[in-house]
Amino acid sequence: MSLDAEQALFDACLAADAAGRERLLTGCADAALAARVRRLLEIHEQEPPSLSIGVENLSPLAMPKRIGRYRILERIGEGAMGDVFLAEQQEPVRRRVALKVLKFGLGTREVIARFELERQALAVLTHPNIAGILDAGATEDGRPYFAMEYVGGIAITRYCDERRLPLEGRLGLFAQVCAGVQHAHLRGIIHRDLKPSNILVTEIDGAPACRIIDFGIAKATTTAGAETDAYTRIGHVLGTPDYMSPEQAQLSPLEIDARTDVYSLGIVLYELLTGARPYSVTRDAIVPETLAREIAEAEPLRPSLRAAEAGADAARRAARRGLAPRALAQRLRGDLDWIVLKAIEKDRNRRYASAHELADDLERHARSEAVLAGPPSWTYRSGRFVRRHRFAAAAAAGLFLSAILFGAGMAWLARETAQERDRANAEAEIAKRVTAFTAGLFEMANPESAGASDVTARELLDGGVRRLETELLRERPEVRAALLEAAGSAYRGIGEHGEASRLIGQAVALRRERGAAEPLPLAQALLAESALRRDQGNFEGAAELAREAVQALERALAAAGSGGETEVARTLAVARLDLAEILRRSSALDEASALAVKTLEGLEKSGATGTPEFVYATHTLGRVRAAQDRLGEAEDLLRRAHAMQLATGGGNTERAIETRNGLADVLVLTGRPAEAESLLRQNLESVRVVYGERHGQYGVAWNNLGNAISDIPEKFGEAEQAYLKALEPLSAMYGLAHPEIATTYNNLGALYLKTREWQKAAQAYQRSLELREQLLGPAHAYTAGTKLGYALALNRLGRAAEAERLLREVHAMLSDSIGPAHSRTVNAQYYLGVILKEQGKTAEALSVVREARQRLERALGADHPRTLAAQKTLDELEGK
């Protein structure tokens, strides 16, 4: 088939109208030729996709001299959508404009067509608070651009903070914003992407004036209908989802109307008033489902409560408004709280219908008249609570039962160990009280609300705690301690760490008062608090508490003499193993090893082989050996532990699951990922049976599976899926902020580094970093590890300066915490050197890499791949 014939028919078809084209094609004697040309015409209509992708990957580097009829003066911004340039128009009038040039891949022809539809409407936008769009077109290489009035201002939030505007000033500016938005709404134009960076403030004769930019752009760049997936919508259209309304975030979005802008305005207002956002939204579009759920479900904190938060940060935010935090909270409480919350209602039917209505209510507030907004009703709120916590509540039901049993067990235990007759009576009394109390809870839980049993369990817990803290305040401390601990552990189980911490802390305080007399319950309480700290990733605190428990039990055992109380001895074994486990996770391996060995030997000597403590000890020593890189021993120990667990019918227990996790780690490290994968798939099933698919542990199991296969290039896709699956139950159960969620995002980031998807890697790491800084603190080793990954991703994205700054922080942090010679510290040092080298800072790079190489050699040996890599870098730096 000749290309000439193909082109001849193709050209003829292009020149013809639709009917003519059809005649040409059907009339063609060569059917194959006609079919091919048909296909080519189709491609031509769609703009050849592959070619544009090829060019898309080659992102801008040099600044263009000219775009359309505009002469480019400078680049003034770079965003998710593209670049913004300051440009000059010479004809018909000479003026400065802002040119927004979109990235490739947004379908130039479509964007411009949609813009053309809106052009007439946009042309009638003439309002002092709106910067008009002047023109749209395509650059020579085919990217869409928009020209708009140039506004040389700064973002409204920044302006207010820099000028330390008091609330009145801020509300005044916000009224201007509402006026501009309302002007557009009355002409049928929705902005769809209102956020501080689109609301600029300039000063005219010393008075601040707002200009809203980008009207019409979001509409033109949003593909209507089902063909856009949520990734595209969220990723391309909006740089940040923080101001996005629930209906926009939905996977199949509703028709957008003015209330969408009201929502975004509400978030902006919240930020203007408090300096913070109502809730934090995942800064990525990795899982649109998660994002949609977060936006739909995240419960905004009342502005006044946000302002009243403790800490230097809140004080700084209040100071920018010329107030102390308490005064700011006072000022926001009431009207302003309700106005903001009404604007950001999830259900748009409950929002203000227009920007005008919102502005009016603010106006009423200023005149001290009654506002439309008011506190939401209790039934409405509890309904929302139930919707949000359905899965968590289901989990709470089971946990609460075990908490009750645990409380009863405590009382029983106390009775068992009681030695004096009157004390035995006292303990019996405790048991009775505990039983009565829990029975009371069930009475409370006998609601008319049939079929809502999962929900009431959680409410039970809340109700029980309220009673504990009021009616039972004069109860005996032992009773209260037992109940506080039980309730605290139940909260811990559903990931409510704040509440768990408060309750268990109280239990420990009560137990401490009587510590010397009752070492066993004290130790139990301490171990409960320790487990909580461990969950929170606070290993230092966890270790301290476990240590205290160990010491209390050791003293008790010594006092009891030989053949001392078996319960104390058993609890001591568990306490030591808990401590060893914590020390292993904070990398204090020598001490962890000594403890585990000592416990295991002690149990063997006393003939306690085969007891649950013995299995736990075998497991713990196995994990410690693995951490020490003694992988052969580790495998042997873990396999033995697992065999004992299976033999005692405990294959589906929490500990057996843990043992399989440890064994899988060893298998991955010794190059047997296939076996590891099969163990972890088994674990997934166990977890599903034990906890159910909605439990956080199920997420952890997926995460572990992801880890096991994340080194196998053919399974990168599967690993990604595993991590994404992990996030679902984790966020369903734990809400948005939990160490395990941070871990999964971190691992996802590491995976994206391997697949060289730098943008996604940076997003995942950023999310993890935010969580870890918040949950573990900035100095934690995990936080440092995440920051390192984030820096590597940023560097690949061309943000070398930021990467360098982060790596310096990581290096300093690790030098402080684990010492400058630790292999992880040196690793960070080496990467810092590499980034310095890439930036041409050769002198500093040389000294950093040289030191890192020496330390790597000392820590890992001269032949270790990392040492060799450092040597190679050093050679390059020295010009060898």
């Binding site: 000749s2 290309l3 000439d4 193909e6 082109q7 193709f10 050209d11 292009l14 296909r39 080519l40 015409l41 491609i43 031509h44 050849p48 996709p49 592959s50 070619l51 992708i53 090829g54 060019v55 898309e56 990957n57 080659l58 992102s59 801008p60 580097l61 040099a62 263009p64 020579e140 290489d141 080194d711 196998i712 290039p713 590491a750 580094l753 391997k754 060289r756 730098w758 590597l792 560097n795 690949r796 994205l797 061309g798 943000r799 070398a800 990467y831 590499v834 980034i835 890439e838 930036q839 041409g840 791949p865 890599a869 190679k872 870098t873």
Partner: protein
């Protein structure tokens, strides 16, 4: 190592190529190739990873620095013809190199020592486009040349038409057809 080209040299080369000196075009090509490699390398270092080169921007940059002093359309035309070919070779070599690195990477841990431009489907596309272009050149060299000028040197339709000594209308038709044809070919061969 080749010393950086200076403007006078290039002007002479361009004039020689313009006057039909058969060796001059080859020397011009070599010179432009070396210059583009140098500019590309510098940009990569400056921009670091994540930002890939935009070939047309590089070619323009090289042109502005080297040849904007050289008068006349003929010079411009020869420069861009040579630059487009050179750019194509640079991109293809680059993509091949990176693909082989990726294949060999295996269980590679994440390190920074191999920092380069980022990977992505762009590699595949560059190589597929190159293969398709070669195929096109066998049957319709003028179309392939047109695509090379537009795609790798960022020439406008009008300039490309002048360079190929065809009418702008023909160039436009050729471009539409060639683009669709290449896209179809690339799409068909793209690994899934």
């Amino acid at each position: 190592m080749r010393k950086p080209l200076i403007q006078g040299d290039l002007t002479r080369l361009l004039q020689a190529a313009g006057s039909g000196d058969p060796g001059a075009y080859a020397r011009l090509y070599d010179a432009v190739y070396a210059e583009l490699r140098r500019v590309a390398g510098a940009s990569m270092r400056r921009e670091s990873a994540g930002h890939t080169l935009q070939p047309t921007a590089l070619v323009n940059e090289a042109y502005l620095r080297l040849a904007s002093g050289a008068p006349g359309w003929e010079n411009r035309r020869h420069f861009f013809a040579a630059a487009a070919e050179a750019m194509r070779r640079i991109l293809v070599d680059h993509a091949r190199r990176r693909r082989s690195q990726k294949r060999g990477a295996g269980l590679e841990r994440v390190t920074l020592s191999g920092v380069d431009v980022p990977a992505g489907d762009g590699d595949v596309d560059v190589l597929l486009i190159d293969a398709a272009l070669t195929e096109l050149a066998a049957e319709r060299p003028r179309l392939a040349e047109l695509v090379t000028l537009r795609y790798f040197a960022g020439m406008s339709i009008e300039d490309a038409a002048r360079a190929l000594e065809i009418s702008p209308a023909t160039a436009k038709r050729d471009w539409a057809f060639a683009r669709a044809w290449l896209a179809e070919r690339v799409e068909a061969r793209r690994p899934t």
